[in-house]
Symmetry: C2
Subunit: 211 residues, 2 copies
Amino acid sequence: MPQMQKPNSKKERRLESEKLILDAAEKVFAEAGFGGATMQLIADMAGLPKANLHYYFPTKESLYRQVVQNIFQVWLEAADVFDKAETPAEGIGAYIDAKMEISRHHPAGSKVWASEVMHRAPVIQDYLETTLTDWTEGRATIIERWIAEGRMAPVDPHHLLYMLWATTQHYADFGHQIETLNGGEPLSDAQWDAAKQSVKEIILRGIGVTV
Amino acid sequence: MPQMQKPNSKKERRLESEKLILDAAEKVFAEAGFGGATMQLIADMAGLPKANLHYYFPTKESLYRQVVQNIFQVWLEAADVFDKAETPAEGIGAYIDAKMEISRHHPAGSKVWASEVMHRAPVIQDYLETTLTDWTEGRATIIERWIAEGRMAPVDPHHLLYMLWATTQHYADFGHQIETLNGGEPLSDAQWDAAKQSVKEIILRGIGVTV
DNA sequence: GTCTATACACTGATAGAC
DNA sequence: GTCTATCAGTGTATAGAC
């Protein structure tokens, strides 16, 4: 039964091609922005003819939308650590670690997200208003509980969350600037550890948590 | 002498038109990115025919370059407060205030800068390597002196600077997200004050400075 | 200096052979 | 499902009248 040596069903091949295209698209959208990206560039990077992209994703915008949604998913999953923790040191510390890991290993996604938000979220505004709003309020409640329990200083939960997002995502979105200021070299393993450590140290001490 | 009632010399008219174009360009580049911005959109926003833009700025890129350079200038001037201060509480506190003011009143500029850096600084890489590098090292030295004098906790100066940039610019670059999470309303005067206060409080406490 | 009209290149999207 | 060839629309930039 030669047709079973590799069970490449139609569905599997479709998912494979889609992933190839989505990975290439994420990189190109991150490097050039939505307007600067071209279907030709994405096709070249994926190693496919341009027409194939339109077979899997009818329009440039539909492809872009899928890229942004995938990033949002990764981003939300990193937030799980927040809920499982009992103390702010654990929860916020682990959240910083998780988000720094994403900034390091998934910088293109972070850039696409930043670009989308900077341009007033033309395609994911509904996500901001529903999923992100719900998530934010839920986490704000947890922070308020920690404050009420005397586990941390009474800071504004929203501004604390913005600071967590800003500092961690900065290492992805402004990675090129950081690399330039690092003598043109990407951060080494030790430097990434130092970055994580610095961010956690300043923020945790900043909210009155002993490190 | 009727021709002197308004001394609109050629040079003055040129500067006026240039400013009109540059202001419009900054907004459009911020909203749409370099690739998404069109000379037509900029011309419409400036209230001029498209050809006039090419009279003052030969290419789209030269116009963009000028916009980015202007932002960098504003950005550097805000940093003066850093040097005039004797203590970290003064210097860093005033720096945060200054940068938050820019984020509030000059958000388009911040977005253009962020976009330029995210796309690997195609037009201002030389600035990053010279002016920004020099500025950063100078400020890192000041921070190290403060640490040596026992005025603040021993944190990595570079990561502290990145945190200052990240947190303050976040209020401009991700202003739309913050507005959405604020029920769709822009931050009020009181909310901006609270934001400034929160950022200063957490960071200053985070570096071991009594507020 | 200012503006209209236009040249020329490129992009997203599709038709149609295989 | 995959690819080549092509179309219609849009963008930057310029020529040339005023």
